[in-house]
Structures are given as C-alpha cells and as structure tokens.
C-alpha cells in the first residue's frame, strides 16, 4: 500500500521553478533516498510534503487522503514528522524539554510526555544530557536531539533532511544505526535527503534523483549512480562526454 503519493507536483517561487511535474509513491515501510545536487529542489519537495508550502499545482496523498493544502501542524498530527536541515534550538528549552515539545503532541500529561522523552533520549544514547543546552552539544548529538524530537510525535512517516551533514565517518556509522533502528524496530517509513552517499547507498533500497526541479531517475542505489544522467547532474556535461563516450 502506498503511504504517500505525489502526483505531478509543481512548485514555483516567482520565476523560479523549484519542482516540475514530480510524481512518485512511497510504500508503507519503505526507506527511500532522495538525492540530487544543491539547488535540485529536494528541500522544497520536503517542504511541500510537510505542508510548509502549498504546491503551485499537483496533489499529495497521505494515507489515501488528499493533504495537498494542509498546514504543517496538521501534517504532524496525521503522523508526518520532519527534521530541518539547518536548525539548532537556541531558546531556553534544554535537551529534555525540546524532546518533550514533540511528545506533547500526543498527550496533555507532563508526566507521560517526560517519560516518553526520557525513553527516547536513552535509546538515542543521549542519557545524561537532559539538562544540557542543545546549542552547546556537538553536532552529532544535536542531530540526534532533533531526531528524538521528531520521533516523539509518534510519526508513521519521517522526513530526514541531511541528518548526516557535518558528521565524521564514525558518527555517520552511528547515525546509520539510529536510522536502521527507526526503520527496522519502530517500523517507521523514512525518506532521506542526503549528500553523504555512503549513508544512502547502505540504507535505502530505492533512490529518487532530482535535478533542476525534475525527477530524472529512480531505482536501486547501486545502479542509479552509474546512469549517465545522474552523473551529469552531479559532475556536469563535460565529465560525461569525456568519460562515457559511446556509452550512452
């Protein structure tokens, strides 16, 4: 069953065509990768799915319900959670309180919200940091706090926007473990935007490639990186013509 369906989605900002005629489906329980060079429109696509932008045209279905014009908080209530690419909590909320904001979506009780948040922090290897300020943590820990907060809302679909950016190899390894746990044990469907190819290659079975707002390729990660149009999108026309003469 398709959990999320995107039908010929278009998104323009003034003269800028950020997403053009994008259609795809995400099955329940899938772990989908979304890649493409900078400016390809990946984050815009996320923002449309999460309700931050209303698409210029096209439709989005979430659990067989048309959610095209819903607001972000309505999407969150329906079970879609997301992380933001560049975001560090700088307010007066500490780590535990940040995660509690997420768990308050499903309960009014402070005791329950706190217990759930503490449980998630422990699973994420953040026990002992409850009272720390998010801004004072190392980047890897910040990313985990953001993920814990998103998970605290009890999502069925989790959109992760570059959670591995700025991490070193061993931290990437740990982040992969966390994503595997979210997908495998918590049974949450995940869509990843990622520039760290290692992570996408290892985790996802299917990858979508975006370039200049268009969906240019779709398929298994191992095969997709060999396709000339994908390499062209990342490395440019000349590289392809020099290295793939006769191949395409």
């Amino acid at each position: 069953m398709a959990l999320l369906k995107v039908k010929s989605l278009d998104m323009t900002f003034g003269g800028l065509h950020a997403n053009r005629d994008i259609s795809f489906e995400v099955a329940d329980g899938e772990l989908l990768g979304l890649i493409g060079p900078n400016g390809a429109g990946k984050s815009t696509l996320f923002n449309c799915m999460a309700g931050l932008h209303a698409p210029t045209s096209g439709e989005i279905y979430f659990r067989d319900r048309n959610v095209t014009c819903l607001k972000p908080y309505q999407m969150a209530r329906l079970g879609l959670a997301r992380t933001f690419q560049v975001y560090v909590a700088t307010g007066d909320l500490n780590v535990l309180e940040n995660v509690m904001v997420g768990s308050f979506l499903r309960t009014r009780s402070r005791v329950k919200a706190k217990a759930k948040a503490e449980g998630l922090l422990e699973k994420m290897g953040l026990a002992g940091l409850e009272r720390a300020r998010v801004a004072n943590l190392p980047v890897a820990a910040q990313k985990r706090v953001v993920m814990a907060t998103a998970l605290a809302t009890d999502p069925v679909l989790l959109l992760l926007d570059e959670v591995a950016a700025g991490l070193n190899p061993s931290e990437i390894e740990q982040m992969m473990e966390v994503i595997r746990w979210v997908h495998g044990d918590l049974r949450i469907t995940v869509i990843l935007i990622e520039h760290v190819m290692e992570l996408v290659m290892n985790l996802s079975r299917r990858v979508l490639v975006l370039d200049s707002g268009r969906l240019i390729a779709e398929g298994e990660p191992k095969q997709i990186v060999r396709r000339p149009e994908v390499i062209k999108a990342y490395l440019g026309e000349r590289y392809v013509s020099e290295h793939f003469v006769g191949a395409s």
Partner: protein, 334 residues
C-alpha cells in the same frame, strides 16, 4: 491531581532559590503587622498589582516571545466592568470580577485573531494601536463616564468584603496578596504545561514548532487570553481600590509599557522575573515621584529612567535580571 502537583513543583530551582522565595513569601505575609507608613503600604499594594500584571504579560510576552505593549486596554475593560456594574446595578466585586475577566478575554480573541498574523515589531506596534483606540472609545462613551471617568460611591458600613471597600489598606493588601499567590502557582503550572512548552517552542523557532504539530496561531491567541485574564482581574481590583477610575489612569500607554517593562527588567520567560522587576520599578517610581514632586513628571525623569532600562536590557541581557543570575551561575558551575 497532576495539575496541582505541577503547580507546587519548584524542584527545578536550586535549593537556595526556594529558601529565598519562602523568606520573601513570609515577609509579604507579615508585612502589615510590621510598623510602616501608609505610603509604604500603598507602594506594597502596587508592587503586588504590578507583579500580577507582569505574570500575566509573561505568558505571551515572556514564554511566547510576543512583545505585547497593549495590556492596558484589558486593565480598562476589567476596571470599567466592575465600576459600571457596581454603580449602575449594585453588583458586588466578586461577581463582576469574573464577568470583567470574561469580557476582556472575549475582546482579546477578537483583537488577537488578526493581530497574531503579524510578527515581531509589527505585532508590538499593533498592540499599542488597538489599546489606544479602545481608550479613545472609552473616553468618548458617556454611558461609562467618558473622559472624566467614574467614581464608585462608598457603602455605609466598612469593612465591606462583598464590595471590597475598606477603611484600612491592609484588607486590600491581603486580597491582592491572594491574587499574587494564585497567579504565581498558576504560572508555575503554566510553564510546565503543554501550552507552556508550545509557546517556548514557538519563541525558539516558529517553523519548527509548527512542524511538531503546534498550531502556533491558535497557541498564541490562547496565551494572549490567559495574559488578558490576569490583567483584567487586577483591573477589577484597581477599580475598588482606587474608587476613582478614568481612561487616562487605567488605559494609558504608560501602563502598557510599564507592565511589559517590569517583566522584561526582571526577566521575561522566567517565573520570578516579573516579581523582581516590580520589586525594583514600583518603589523607584513611587519614591522618585515623592522626592521630586510634580517636577519629576514635568522633567520626564521617569521616562528617561524607563528608556535607559530598556536600552540596558536590550544591550546586555535580553533575559533581564533573572538572565544575569542564570549566567553568573552557569559561569560558576563551569
């Protein structure tokens, strides 16, 4: 049950804070039995009133980060409801109090709905405008006394608890002290409640808050209504305490700014901030007035001091005195 437990849960404060707070609470309780001038008594009552104003402002302005400079309009609605009902229909204070709060909260929804489409400075300016417009309306509305205001007639017998009319000030003091403690415990619950967390999240980053399922527009309107209920209650009390009310007195821009300023000086977004702010600014305001007489107002001395405080807060510590204390503690523990 959990609500009550939360309201009395101060466990996130260091022990020394709880000792200091308890000592202050005891001092407030026994203050009327100590020798004092009537001027000091009046100052203390004003301190309590401004503390409760500040606590209310702190919900939307402190925890929610929405700088509201129009609280005086709701003080006016509370004060006028009580005064008009008492004068025209002989309704006791304790009945007109909830009605005044209800009317003010109702009005706050009408004002809050469009106003919270605005952000930052635009929101602050719009709150000033709405407050001043309502003041103008009250000044030209003859049913409620117009610009000359209203005078509540005294009942024959005193003390009169039903109408809150007393010869001795300590009665007023203890009633306001009751409001003060109810307000304090309510805010202590509020800051741990779902609404409190939602507001703090909105203050940090509204976009992220919305992605976590928070309807930020509605959350702000609700907190604005809570703040309004606080100031309207004190406004009702103000009418009984002063006997005389006029728009210039209970609805002026000065009052709106003072309410926000006290909370910001003490520490916006902290439990004790508004109380600390009121404890500094109210005596300063009153004693400056007493020392310099009418000249203080003429020279604009009070305004100069307020403006200086705003600039100092903005430049050095946006979280006010409480922020300064927190920073010193963090430095010492590191």
């Amino acid at each position: 049950m959990e609500v009550l437990k939360t309201a009395f849960d101060f466990s996130d404060f260091p022990r020394i804070d709880i000792w200091v707070a308890s000592a202050v609470a005891v001092a407030l309780l026994v203050f009327p039995t100590l020798p004092h001038s009537s001027f000091a008594m009046a100052t203390m009552i004003q301190f309590l009133m401004f503390s409760v104003y500040g606590m209310g402002w702190n919900t939307i302005g402190g925890y929610g980060g929405q700088v509201d400079l129009g609280k005086a309009q709701y003080v006016g609605i509370g004060a006028y409801t009580t005064a008009v009902m008492m004068i025209r229909w002989d309704v006791p204070f304790w009945f007109s109090l909830p009605i005044g709060m209800g009317l003010a909260v109702g009005w706050s929804f009408i004002i809050g709905y469009p106003l919270f489409r605005l952000r930052g400075h635009y929101f602050a300016i719009a709150t000033i405008a709405t407050s001043l417009v309502l003041k103008d309306v009250f000044e030209s509305w003859s049913f409620i006394g117009g610009a000359r205001g209203l005078k509540i007639p005294l009942k024959g017998e005193m003390p009169n608890f039903l109408y809150v009319q007393f010869r001795e000030d300590y009665y007023y003091y203890y009633i306001m002290l009751g409001f003060f403690f109810i307000g304090l415990f309510y805010i202590n619950w509020f800051r741990h409640s779902r609404m409190g967390f939602q507001l703090r999240s909105i203050k940090d980053n509204e976009e992220v808050a919305r992605s976590l399922g928070i309807d930020s527009h509605w959350a702000k309107i609700k907190a604005y209504a809570v703040a309004t209920a606080f100031v309207a209650a004190v406004g009702s009390f103000h009418a009984c305490y002063n006997f005389n009310i006029e728009p210039e007195d209970v609805m002026s821009l000065d009052l709106s700014v003072l309410i926000a300023l006290m909370a910001m000086l003490g520490g916006a977004g902290s439990l004790f901030g508004p109380i600390i702010g009121a404890a500094i600014l109210v005596p300063m305001k009153n004693y400056l007035g007493a020392w310099f007489g009418a000249r203080a107002g003429l020279a604009g001395l009070d305004l100069i001091i307020y403006a200086t405080i705003i600039m100092l807060i903005a430049a050095f510590e946006p979280r006010g005195i409480w922020g300064l204390i927190t920073r010193l503690r963090e430095r010492r523990s590191n």
